[in-house]
């Protein structure tokens, strides 16, 4: 294992190792060969593996994903890199009506990885969509959204050794985040959450950049005697219900932290699953601390107001930890 990778270099090092291991893996997308992608995610791999395996494309998202789907069906393992996940809106038929359904209809596996940077940061309304909500509601697609270098690398390896389409989402705010990463055969299974911090009082569930906020908030309330268990989902589809339900049955109190607009997103599904599997263990309703139902504006002054903040999570933790029954005003 390597002790000091960034979120972005962990991806690259996982990709390099897998490309060395398996000659059928190749990457396609815009501005990859020389620039290494808009987030340096494959920087250096172009010269190393050549233009056939780090393939520069025109701006043709539908064609990129279609190329990936067909090539995946034909004995190779393509990684389609969209740079920004928002551009998947130009390739939704390829992703949802083709990639996600082919195994089911035809019994043919589609070992396709579609990677992009996602999450909310600067860039305005059109570059900050939360497509995880859509992908999570799509049978046949798996969705991963790691929060740290270790999981980036380990999940990438799992995706590149699996058989089915994986949407690989990486958060903009984490691009330079540092941490250890695993070695060539240290995999993180798709569909496995992790306990980022164990605790007894409240379960705080998140993913991606939310885990960073969650850990800070947990730390901050720890001083006040609130012992928070932080779950990093890592995969949104499939959800690791076991880890979620075990924690909730222990704590009886849950906050779901999700920057996606609140309606019909991951937090809704998690809340509903807790309702299904741990209702009788709940001491309080599940708290959703989520993004507002709004596009993302340009001005930082406005963006912050729409997103879950550390202070907001702290307040939610304090409130739920202290609560013993119904609040007077609902």
């Amino acid at each position: 294992m390597s002790n000091d990778e960034t979120y972005s270099t962990a991806y690259r090092s996982g990709m390099r190792e897998e490309m060395e291991r398996d000659g059928t893996i190749f990457v396609l997308g815009t501005d990859l060969f020389d620039r290494g992608g808009h987030f340096s995610q494959v920087k250096g791999l172009g010269p190393e593996f050549g233009a056939d395996r780090i393939r520069d494309t025109p701006i043709s998202e539908a064609a990129m994903v279609a190329a990936g789907v067909g090539a995946a069906m034909n004995g190779t393992r393509p990684v389609v890199d969209l740079n920004f996940m928002d551009f998947a809106y130009g390739a939704m038929d390829e992703l949802i009506n083709q990639a996600a359904k082919i195994r089911y209809m035809w019994g043919r596996p589609v070992p396709l990885v579609v990677r992009a940077t996602a999450g909310v940061a600067q860039g305005g309304a059109q570059h900050n969509n939360s497509l995880q909500s859509t992908f999570m509601s799509t049978p046949g697609l798996s969705v991963v959204f790691p929060s740290r270098p270790w999981d980036v690398k380990g999940l990438l390896k799992s995706a590149l050794r699996g058989e089915d389409p994986v949407v690989f989402m990486m958060h903009k705010m984490l691009t330079g985040a540092r941490g250890p990463a695993g070695g060539p055969d240290e995999l993180v299974p798709i569909g496995s959450a992790r306990i980022a911090r164990p605790g007894r009082d409240v379960t705080l569930i998140s993913y991606g950049y939310g885990v960073t906020i969650a850990e800070k908030a947990a730390q901050s309330v720890a001083a006040q005697g609130i012992d928070t268990e932080v779950i990093d989902l890592r995969s949104l589809s499939p959800l690791d219900l076991n880890t979620i339900v075990t924690s909730v049955r222990k704590t009886g109190k849950v906050i779901v932290l999700d920057e996606a607009p609140i309606s019909a997103g991951p937090a809704a599904e998690i809340t509903a699953q807790i309702n299904d599997h741990a209702f009788w263990y709940l001491d309080q309703p599940v708290g959703r601390v989520c993004g507002a139902d709004s596009p993302i504006p340009h001005s930082p002054a406005l963006v912050d107001a729409l997103l879950p903040s550390e202070a907001g999570v702290v307040a939610a933790l304090q409130q739920i930890a202290a609560a013993t029954g119904p609040a007077l005003a609902s």
Partner: protein
């Protein structure tokens, strides 16, 4: 562009030449029966008959090798049968039976058999070309000499993604044949009226690949154009665009009421350009077939289709307990 029955046969192996006719007759026999069954409610969701378009399918399939692949459209049976899927497998699939080509999961618009190189018909206009393009990329990455043909209809020429797919194939010199099976109509829209410039071949040429228009009622012409394109693809010269001019005799789907074209127009195509009649006459003229041989082909086709109907009728339904299985290896096992 019109084919005269007097046209001489080119240098084709006689057995192959007869087999093409047999394949076309089988398709027509199948489609006529299928259409009838659809009207009797036997085919859930109905079907899109390809009667009149037999030469396109057979010319494409026979212009390729068995290891080459085809991905097609919602009008699917002629491609599937030409690529070697049996009438029984197709019809049982149309019925939704377990013995269908795809266990009843696919249906008329979603027939696939990868062993036969049938990479799926597709319910989304233009999407088959995308899959074929990707498959061609896969072939190129792996260094095989496989060629892919992606078929779309004239209606697909106005789907922007079709041109993205074509462009990518052109710049990467993929072993792809981009086939527009132009039967003049998309549902009930006359395609020329919604296609700027009204010349799909010229439009394609703007994407930087050789582009040709082919008489789609002549299996020999289609075969030749596809063979040449396949050669180019196989030798690394990249994709070719082919616009195959053809015509469907029936409505868009079984039972469609037709008000958007005249009976006269249909009659003109049927009487002067029928791909089966003309080709049969040509084989007879060339001494490669006699009337008895033709009758035998027709009989065989009828018998085969009869057997397919029996097979489909008697085939078991798929087990409902399997309905949610095999969605993804990642999600197959958890209980909710």
């Amino acid at each position: 562009m019109t084919t005269s029955t007097a046209q001489p046969m080119p240098d084709v192996d006689p057995a192959a030449a007869r087999e093409w006719l047999a394949a076309m007759i089988l398709i027509r026999t199948f489609e006529e029966r299928g259409d009838e069954l659809a009207l009797r409610g036997k085919i859930p969701g109905g079907m899109h008959p390809a009667i009149g378009q037999e030469a396109a399918a057979v010319g494409i399939a026979r212009g390729l090798r068995g290891t080459d692949l085809v991905a097609g459209t919602h009008r699917a049976h002629h491609h599937a049968l030409a690529k070697g899927m049996t009438p029984s497998a197709v019809l049982a699939e149309l019925y939704g039976k377990a013995s269908g080509s795809n266990g009843g999961r696919g249906g008329s618009m979603h027939l696939a058999d990868f062993d036969l190189g049938l990479w799926g018909s597709n319910g989304v206009v233009g999407a088959g070309l995308g899959i074929a393009m990707g498959a061609a990329l896969g072939a190129k990455q792996r260094g095989t000499d496989q060629v892919a043909a992606g078929i779309f209809g004239d209606g697909g020429a106005n789907v922007g993604r079709v041109w993205e797919f074509t462009n990518l194939a052109a710049i990467w010199k993929l072993p792809l044949i981009v086939v527009c099976e132009n039967n003049l109509y998309a549902v009930e829209t006359q395609t020329s009226s919604v296609t700027g410039g009204a010349d799909i071949t010229r439009r394609a040429a703007g994407f930087g690949l050789p582009a040709f228009t082919v008489d789609g009622q002549d299996v020999v012409s289609v075969h030749q154009a596809v063979s040449e394109a396949a050669d180019r693809a196989r030798t690394g010269s990249g994709p070719t665009f082919l616009e195959i001019l053809t015509y469907r005799y029936k409505g868009h789907d079984s039972g469609q009421v037709i008000r958007y074209r005249t009976d006269d127009e249909v009659q003109r195509w049927r009487s002067s350009k029928d791909p089966i009649e003309n080709y049969a006459a040509r084989l007879i003229t060339a001494g490669l077939l006699d009337e008895a041989g033709l009758a035998a082909l027709t009989d065989t086709a009828r018998t085969t289709v009869d057997e397919a109907v029996t097979f489909a009728e008697e085939a078991p339904w798929p087990d409902p307990c399997t309905a949610a299985e095999n969605v993804s290896a990642y999600t197959g096992n958890e209980q909710r």
